[in-house]
């Protein structure tokens, strides 16, 4: 049976090469696995800027004393931070596999990652199975903790319900008349959920508004000519879109050229991140959010967190010649939360490097300050963050040659996020019970 021998030998050789993984991290380093999009469409808008911001923060932390208190200590509790970066592109199957490899082969101390909600749903059960401390830093779907409960998994960013509730509240608070509205969202879970959330919130605040066409062009379609014609024909008072990245840029370029923004008010659930690229091609008067008080809204806010926000803002502008949008803000809030949790756990265990159990215990219900505001692990038994949000209106400043966000409204975390113990869909359907708005 010669073939058996050869295949056996081949397998063994490959295995020998494969099994010799790197040694476990030392006690004086804290190794994190970072998973974010380095290729594909989400790389440009989320993955790469997020990690660009993350890299800066890790370097500053490892150097120590670069950030305002309480983040002026070195690394994580004095430990040097080491990072392994993995590309998030390639689908959930690949990500579950890579997650196992990170935890079991690379023996990372914590995993920080995931933009795609599919990956955010796929990874948590495995994280719990492996008892591996994991932070979901970006993805938006409420389903992660509403459909399941996980011991070792935390999400340090609010889920997407907040974005669309804030938009509806913004319209209402500005007395904007909405006799009818339509939507153009990407044809996958994010776009479908955003549209459902937006229509849900509008039903409460604008019960008489007529819902016109809901378009779901294919993800990455690029060509929106037909959809724009449909929107122009229907003449809704308002067009909602949660598109992001290239899909949003393409839509805006084509819609602007055909005057859609002059006929209908355009509102964007997560539109801030295309401002640096589009510049004055982004029309004035668009209402948009940044999935948190991120980017321009954070810069305009000032207040107690100004020093921390400025640290991120200036470091990022220095390094990359452009200002930080939502993604680096979310990466910062994840890493600063991790730092807070590690240090809290070390204070409890006498200064040793914390185990996954100790980290999870420390993270549960934690709150900390980030450039995007106060992050509170309020929902899902202390595993899901809520955070404040802001919506503003675009306005091009001819003098500075920069896009600004004007008429910004800030919303307290408890005003636009559901309280603990209620699913976001129910919260919308019941008319936001327990919302605490100023």
């Amino acid at each position: 049976m010669i073939k058996k021998h050869i295949t056996g030998a081949l397998g063994a050789a490959l295995l020998a090469g494969g099994l010799a993984g790197p040694a476990a991290a030392q006690d004086d380093t804290f190794k994190i696995g970072v998973i974010t999009f380095l290729s594909g469409q989400a790389a440009e808008s989320f993955g790469v800027p997020a990690w660009n911001g993350g890299k800066l923060l890790v370097d500053m932390l490892n150097e120590g004393g670069k950030l305002p208190a309480p983040y002026d200590t070195k690394g994580f509790g004095g430990m040097n931070i080491e990072v392994v970066v993995i590309d998030e592109a390639g689908g959930a199957t690949k990500q579950v596999q890579e997650f196992r490899n990170l935890v079991q082969r690379e023996e990372v101390d914590a995993v920080v990652g995931y933009v795609s909600s599919g990956n955010c749903l796929a990874v948590p059960p495995v994280a719990d199975e492996l008892k591996a401390f994991t932070i979901l830093y970006d993805c938006g779907t409420p389903r992660v903790f509403e459909d399941g409960a996980f011991e070792y998994v935390f999400r340090t960013a609010a889920h997407a319900t907040m974005d669309n509730v804030s938009l509806a509240r913004y319209l209402k608070s500005r007395d904007f008349d909405v006799p009818s509205f339509a939507g153009l969202n990407q044809d996958y879970a994010w776009g479908q959920d955003s549209w459902a959330d937006f229509t849900g919130a509008m039903k409460q605040l604008y019960p008489d508004a007529e819902v016109k066409t809901a378009l779901f062009p294919k993800f990455g379609a690029g060509q929106y000519g037909t959809e724009i014609s449909a929107l122009l024909r229907e003449r809704p008072a308002l067009v909602h879109s949660s598109n992001w990245g290239g899909d949003l840029q393409g839509f805006l370029i084509q819609a602007t050229a055909r005057g859609l923004h002059k006929r209908s008010q355009v509102v964007l659930a997560a539109g801030d991140h295309v401002i640096p690229q589009l510049g004055n091609k982004m029309p004035d008067g668009i209402f948009l959010g940044a999935r948190g008080v991120n980017g321009l809204a954070a810069n305009a806010r000032g207040g107690e967190l100004k020093e921390l926000t400025d640290t991120l803002w200036m470091a990022y502008e220095d390094e990359y010649d452009t200002f930080p949008v939502q993604a680096p803000f979310r990466m910062w809030q994840a890493l600063l939360g991790l730092k807070t949790a590690v240090e809290k756990a070390m204070a409890d265990n006498g200064g040793k490097k914390p185990t996954d159990e100790e980290l999870a215990a420390a993270m549960k219900g934690l709150s900390w300050d980030a450039p995007s505001g106060r992050i509170e692990m309020m929902l899902a038994d202390g595993h899901q963050a809520i955070q404040p949000n802001a919506i503003g209106t675009t306005k091009w400043n001819e003098e500075t040659g920069k896009m600004e966000l004007v008429d910004v409204e800030y919303y307290a975390a408890r005003c636009v996020n559901p309280p603990a113990g209620i699913k976001s869909a129910d919260w919308l359907a019941q008319g936001f019970p327990g919302a605490e708005c100023d």
Partner: protein, 313 residues
């Protein structure tokens, strides 16, 4: 040409592979289990390749099997791995029997493209069905084994042994089939359909058999993959997933059954390590690897292993 009987080599293969559960670290055992599950799907493609066609849409059955298992598990609380495998296999068999006769009259690029279109229709449909998770997909709990509900390492081991057992059984059965009269007719058909028809055999029937076997293996592979992974999403039916299966089949060639699984494992290892060492250029690394394989191994891995026929003319 001395051959051990198939069942003897199957037992040897089972013992060797099962021994892996003692020495492999967790991550490798998972990687192997996934690779072997995908290898099952690829074995189905190899079966079709022997008849001269390549399905670019095996993701259809991989995805269908995985979704069937997940929906059955989530709606009826079934967690037994044997039962789930049987149900998904039955569903895939039924669907295969519908599409098999339809596809059996297509060849070459048309067979490839039509099978691809079918799997893309499933992809599109599942993406739209938000009540079963849409593009985000669904999670499935850990399987049980005839009432036994292991966790942690024992779970991994049990799953791994289960995959190994299925792979060995399926591999042995396919070997027997490949060597059988029908198997030889398949090979003859790949060469010369006209001859086979004029000998009185139906090329379409043979095509249908191979397609249905492929559907069955695809469904079983998908079921095991989703149980190991804990998650399924429409990406299972996307063309790039199917493309990978085809790649493994080409890498393996159609001569040897074990080569299919070796190829599947090699691809997983290459992908995993290029991901780690070249996070920014892993696609480039994978693409170059693919080209090297196609250039260096025109007959697939199997041609290295299998006796080479005298072909100098």
């Amino acid at each position: 040409m001395m051959h051990l009987p198939v069942y003897v080599s199957a037992i040897i293969a089972f013992v060797l592979l099962a021994a892996g559960s003692l020495v492999l670290p967790d991550w490798a055992m998972f990687l192997f289990a996934m690779a072997l599950a995908k290898g099952l799907v690829c074995l189905g493609i190899v079966g079709m390749m022997r008849g001269g066609v390549v399905s670019f849409g095996q993701g259809l059955y991989y995805c269908l099997g995985a979704y069937t298992a997940t929906l059955v598990a989530n709606s009826f609380g079934v967690s037994d791995i044997f039962l789930l495998t049987l149900i998904s296999a039955a569903v895939c068999l039924a669907v295969g029997l519908v599409f098999g006769p339809l596809l059996s009259s297509y060849r070459g690029i048309f067979f490839a493209m039509l099978s691809l279109a079918l799997s893309m229709v499933l992809y599109g449909t599942l993406s739209k069905m938000s009540f079963i998770g849409g593009t985000d997909g669904l999670n499935i709990g850990a399987p049980t084994f005839l009432g036994w509900a292991p966790e942690g390492r024992p779970l991994q081991t049990a799953l791994y042994i289960y995959v190994v057992a299925i792979v060995v059984i399926a591999g042995a059965l396919m070997r027997i089939y490949f060597d059988s009269e029908q198997g030889l007719i398949t090979l003859a058909m790949r060469d010369n359909e006209l001859r086979v028809e004029y000998l009185g055999a139906s090329v379409r029937h043979v095509m249908t058999y191979n397609y249905v076997f492929g559907a069955l293996l695809g469904g079983i592979g998908g079921t095991i993959a989703v149980l190991a992974l804990g998650h399924v999403d429409p990406e299972f039916a996307f063309w790039t997933t199917s493309g990978e299966f085809v790649f493994v089949a080409i890498l393996a060639g159609y001569l040897s059954v074990p080569a299919v699984f070796v190829a599947a494992i090699i691809l997983e290892l290459v992908r995993s390590f290029s991901n780690l060492y070249f996070p920014n250029t892993w696609q480039l690394a994978l693409g170059i690897f693919l080209l090297i394989v196609i250039v260096a191994l025109p007959g697939g891995l199997g041609s290295l292993i299998k006796r080479s026929k005298e072909t100098d003319t």
